[in-house]
């Protein structure tokens, strides 16, 4: 009994010493993002570097399958669990703020003037009531992809892609091949509103025809104008009049381009990885064609925010981590691992990056890009898909189809902003 008691007290004293030691100053925070091999890899590497530079902080990396991502976060944070730093799509900011999931970034650590000087203008959408709530590591934009082999075959210079919309149509006509029956064998340009084309129409074509998709306060649809109708008509004429492509050709635009059956496509920087892996595909990337001297692009981005769950020591650690993953070095790492573009102008506009054969056109496009304030991206995309289908399948006049689409989208915006 005596040795038992002694052992107990010895153990208790040791435990007290252990628990009160300076090693207990370690803070653990959690980072959540959606599951995607390259992004997981990038964050793991960033965490390794961060922990080496900050010995008192441990970052637990959790990744959730995309389909469950929003649901899990929405359930965890109000319950006091889940991430301290979370990655979210820029379009979800309003929803997350409404649900009280994010806290504003401390102005001392992230002064607004610095953010506005350093990051691309589209990031300013993360400022609500004068406070920034999240910052991106990387951004994405659109560009024109072209198949060099098909260009050569059609007698076009494989290193000279079209620079204007008129050239785009002219080249596409030369690149379109049909059978004697008129069946499409090779498309000059992919036509896929369900892909990136709806972004192209919204933020690029409508502006190039002299219009604007939404009002300055983002709450009103403004493409039900002559400019909007003209841009839409140009897009529809690609298949209907110029016959350089076909909706549904080889099921979708990406498949058609990858299989070498479409000579050109409008797609995002996130497509580079897949295309690089396509054997036998010799492709080039160019800035989106201009029209009447007007250049425009669509950009989107995932941002990192600090959740309302992170308080006290965890908040400090979260701020440090967020600062780390938005440094220029982190952005360079992200670019080489994930293929997304740096969100800081200084990093993106380094000559090596700005003139890079593949990243360059996307980066140059960022300086004139717009990020749509979607309230419900899938529903708003469907509005444009249906608009084009109405004209193609139901012979609805373009003007009427555009008016109906504008009304439908306005309903979506109204429903969201009324809540």
């Amino acid at each position: 009994m005596k040795t038992g008691k002694a052992a107990f007290w010895l153990g208790a004293i040791l435990a007290a010493l252990w628990w009160s030691g300076p090693a207990r100053a370690q803070v653990e925070i959690e980072y959540w993002q959606y599951t995607f091999a390259q992004r997981v890899q990038a964050i793991d590497e960033l965490i390794k570097r961060f922990e080496a530079a900050n010995p008192g902080i441990k970052v637990k990396h959790t990744h959730v399958p995309y389909d469950d991502f929003r649901v899990k976060i929405a359930a965890a944070i109000p319950a006091g669990q889940g991430p301290d730093v979370v990655q979210l799509f820029y379009g979800w900011l309003q929803d997350y703020l409404k649900a009280g999931l994010l806290q504003p970034l401390p102005a001392a650590a992230f002064p607004a003037s610095e953010v506005e000087k350093e990051f691309f203008p589209i990031v300013q959408q993360m400022k609500v009531d004068g406070k920034y709530y999240a910052l991106p590591t990387a951004v994405r934009s659109l560009a024109l992809f072209w198949n060099k082999a098909l260009f050569k075959e059609a007698g076009l210079d494989p290193e000279k892609p079209p620079a204007t919309l008129d050239e785009l149509v002219e080249y596409a006509k030369k690149l379109t091949k049909r059978s004697p029956n008129g069946d499409l064998l090779q498309a000059g340009l992919t036509i896929d509103m369900g892909g990136q084309d709806h972004h192209w129409l919204r933020e690029v074509l409508i502006r190039q025809y002299g219009g604007a998709p939404y009002s300055a306060d983002k709450k009103t649809v403004t493409y039900n104008t002559d400019a909007g109708v003209a841009a839409t008509q140009w897009y529809i004429d690609l298949a209907a009049k110029n016959k350089v492509g076909q909706i549904g050709f080889l099921t979708d635009g990406v498949t058609a381009f990858r299989s070498g059956k479409a000579a050109m496509t409008i797609d995002g920087s996130f497509r580079l990885g897949a295309l690089d892996g396509q054997k036998g595909l010799d492709y080039g990337v160019a800035e989106l064609p201009a029209h009447k001297g007007i250049k425009a692009n669509f950009a989107s981005y995932w941002v990192n925010g600090i959740t309302t769950k992170a308080i006290g020591a965890k908040q400090d650690a979260a701020v440090k981590f967020l600062k780390f993953i938005t440094t220029p070095e982190a952005m360079e790492l992200w670019m080489t691992t994930v293929g997304e573009l740096p969100a800081r102008k200084s990093v993106a506009e380094k000559d090596a990056n700005k003139n890079h054969a593949k990243y360059g056109p996307f980066i140059r496009g960022l300086s004139y890009a717009y990020a749509t304030d979607f309230v419900n991206e899938s529903a708003q995309r469907k509005v444009l898909i249906d608009m084009v289908d109405k004209v193609a399948l139901k012979n609805v006049p373009t003007k009427e189809a555009v008016a109906q689409a504008a009304a439908e989208e306005q309903n979506l915006l109204d429903a969201f902003y009324k809540k």
Binding site: K98, G194, Q246, T251, K382, D386, L393
Partner: protein, 297 residues
């Protein structure tokens, strides 16, 4: 204390043991199956959108649903899947089973071939059929049509043809299962009935309508009810063949796809729950009606 267990009969003791073993799976099943369903039923009266609070809004979701023209289009599509799918698949599978029953040579192989589509993943089949439906020279069906001298058909790019086009692989897969069940049902009919009929001089049609089909009643009821439920809940074929849109212009969209979209694209969980309650009600009513009508008096 000792006397208690001696008061129960053997049958009662057996029952207690049965319940003791059943209690675990029953509790598990009730929790996994009924509790979330009850929660969904409750959620249909709220405006829950995942990130917000759940606020009780009474029947607002239901009235919004009834006034939504997209909802009525979707209901129409769902019943079209039912109205085309069940009769065509039942007729085709019965005819095939009827004749396959008489085949001896290669019977097993043929039966297996018919059954394989039922075993294949719906998404895989949907994708292959999607390629079949492409215009010539990619799509096999259009190549055959042109070869036979007919004009090409826009299968999936047509608001009238898309629904039957999406339904076709679903029927093709469903038939396999129905054929096997019909074959089992046909084999269960005692040969003596057929022999007696032949002796009495009955023709093939009379035998079919007065002996075979009446004796197949339980099989028919089972297949009609299960295939109705399956067609009313069609989802994966539509999702795979229309890029998840249910298009073109909602012409192929069934109720389950609308629920999926409302919940996971629009994040309107309360509204989606409302639609699931409606689907449940439809399935319940249809199944009960069918069992009542088809059950022998």
């Amino acid at each position: 204390m000792i006397g208690r267990s001696q008061d129960l009969t053997i049958a009662q003791k057996r029952a207690i043991w049965a319940w003791a073993f059943l209690s675990m799976p029953v509790v598990f099943y009730v929790t996994i199956r009924f509790y979330p369903a009850a929660q969904a039923f409750g959620a249909s009266f709220t405006n829950w959108n995942i990130v917000g609070r759940m606020e009780f809004i009474g029947l607002a979701n239901y009235s919004r649903l009834l006034q939504d023209p997209a909802f009525w289009k979707v209901i129409g599509n769902t019943f079209a899947y039912l109205g085309l799918g069940v009769p065509i698949s039942m007729l085709a599978s019965f005819v095939i089973a009827y004749f396959l029953d008489r085949v001896r040579f290669g019977h097993g192989l043929l039966r297996a071939l018919y059954f394989i589509p039922h075993l294949t993943t719906a998404v895989a089949m949907a994708w292959v059929w999607r390629w079949f439906y492409q215009p010539a020279p990619v799509g096999a069906f259009n190549v055959w049509l042109v070869g036979l001298g007919f004009p090409q058909v826009a299968f999936l790019r047509s608001t009238t043809h898309a629904l039957p086009a999406v339904l076709a692989p679903a029927i093709w897969a469903g038939i396999g299962f129905q054929i096997v069940i019909f074959l089992a049902g046909l084999k269960a009919i005692p040969r003596t009935y057929y022999e007696a009929a032949t002796i009495d001089g009955a023709g093939a049609w009379r035998v079919l309508f007065e002996i075979t089909l009446p004796l197949l009643r339980p099989t028919i009821v089972f297949l009609v009810v299960t295939s109705s439920i399956a067609y009313l809940r069609i989802f994966d074929y539509v999702y795979a063949m229309t890029n998840g849109q249910g298009g073109p212009l909602d012409s192929t969209k069934p109720l389950v796809l609308k629920i999926f979209e409302t919940a996971f694209a629009h994040f309107e969980m309360g509204y989606a729950a409302t639609q699931t309650v409606v689907l449940f009600a439809i399935l319940l009513v249809i199944s009960r009606m069918q069992i009542r009508l088809l059950r022998s008096r």
